[in-house]
Symmetry: C2
Subunit: 217 residues, 2 copies
């Protein structure tokens, strides 16, 4: 089964006996560019600590964030010569990286490795497909609700989570403006579905998943 493989999309799995794949480490400061759209895709990355945004720009500056990469996520895996997104560190971020070239060398003979690449790409595709539905057909409230549920699923550790990204990032991910995101968040807050912690409202606690799920049509 293609899809029955584990979901541990770690670079470590590519360290197989027959080849020497070196995993390097690197750190990026808040806002630093990791790679740019259309630049040569020489490396494949994994978030070791922090968070990363991948986006495309239009000529007049409009931005669409295609995905957020959190701890454990692999990104920059384009299966192509150039990157199709720009990737930036959202906060101070540490990544592991391997040369794409060495991955390809293994991939030429090892079916399992190619299968892993296929699985990762399929997961990315599935996320993009769901996001097309969100961007094309959901209301502002539904988008924000879906975003919160996604983040809840991906980074909740103890019943609450802190969003690493700014309102601008959220807006550019959801195809909205920062004002609309702010209004919808506070709308949910007023309805008691969402609780903020600390006056700095990047911290969120006590998210009522069930009531929120009703809004994510």
């Amino acid at each position: 089964m293609f899809a029955s493989l584990g979901r541990s999309n770690s670079l470590a799995k590519f360290v197989v006996p027959q080849a020497r794949v070196t995993i390097s480490e690197y750190s990026y400061g808040r806002g630093a560019e990791i790679f740019g759209e259309n630049e040569p895709a020489d490396y494949v990355y994994e978030v070791a600590a922090g968070a990363v945004r991948s986006y495309k720009l239009l000529s007049d500056g409009r931005r669409q964030i295609g995905a957020f990469h959190l701890v454990g996520d692999v990104f920059g895996l384009e299966n192509a010569v150039v990157h199709r997104f720009t990737a930036e560190a959202i906060v101070n971020t540490k990544v592991h990286l391997v040369r794409r070239e060495s991955l390809e060398l293994i991939a030429q003979e090892d079916v399992v490795v190619v299968r892993d690449l296929l699985n990762m790409t399929t997961n990315n595709l599935q996320h993009a497909e769901d996001h097309m539905l969100l961007l094309g057909r959901k209301t502002a409230l539904e988008r924000v609700a879906a975003f919160l549920l996604e983040m809840d699923r991906r980074l909740t550790k103890a019943g609450f989570f802190a969003l690493p990204m700014s309102r601008r990032d959220i807006a550019d991910y959801l195809g909205l403006t920062i004002e609309t995101v702010s209004r919808e968040l506070h709308h949910l807050h007023d309805r008691g579905i969402l609780g903020f912690l600390s006056s700095n409202q990047r911290q969120i606690v006590l998210l009522d998943r069930d009531r929120l799920a009703e809004l994510d049509l």
Copy 2:
């Protein structure tokens, strides 16, 4: 190079010596469902004649078409147990199909076949990524212009092309309403960028690609 393989995404390439892969043929009438979302993905398809739409639905009927599949396109390749879209014939359509199971059998030992699957999935991912930018950040006029350029690229044979899909399909692909699509098309027509043929305006001729490309930011 992963991406240096040819773009001939035909099912025929999977008919390799060591395995018996049977390619069947089937026809669907206009509007017929080929497979449904969340149904078992038992087959992989290729459009032999006609056109197909793949879409997701929200509970209240809002629809987002993720892709149109034209002659030569492979679709239903989910690398998963179930389909993530519903697929319907837009017009009378003939497809070739192979059992997913037999593809997987080959894929277990043949690196080249898995590589082909990876390439197809990567192409789908790239299309989805571009479409996210369109749905999240482009204006109605830009969306329609991008749609026309895509169709021009994919189905122009002799300087003109006929759209197989309805205004509703186009609208649900672009995240717009049928009225807006109609208005923007006529807007382009009035500006001389687009010419219709025959009173039935599903036929389009003489598309000024250069002037249209300026609108596709």
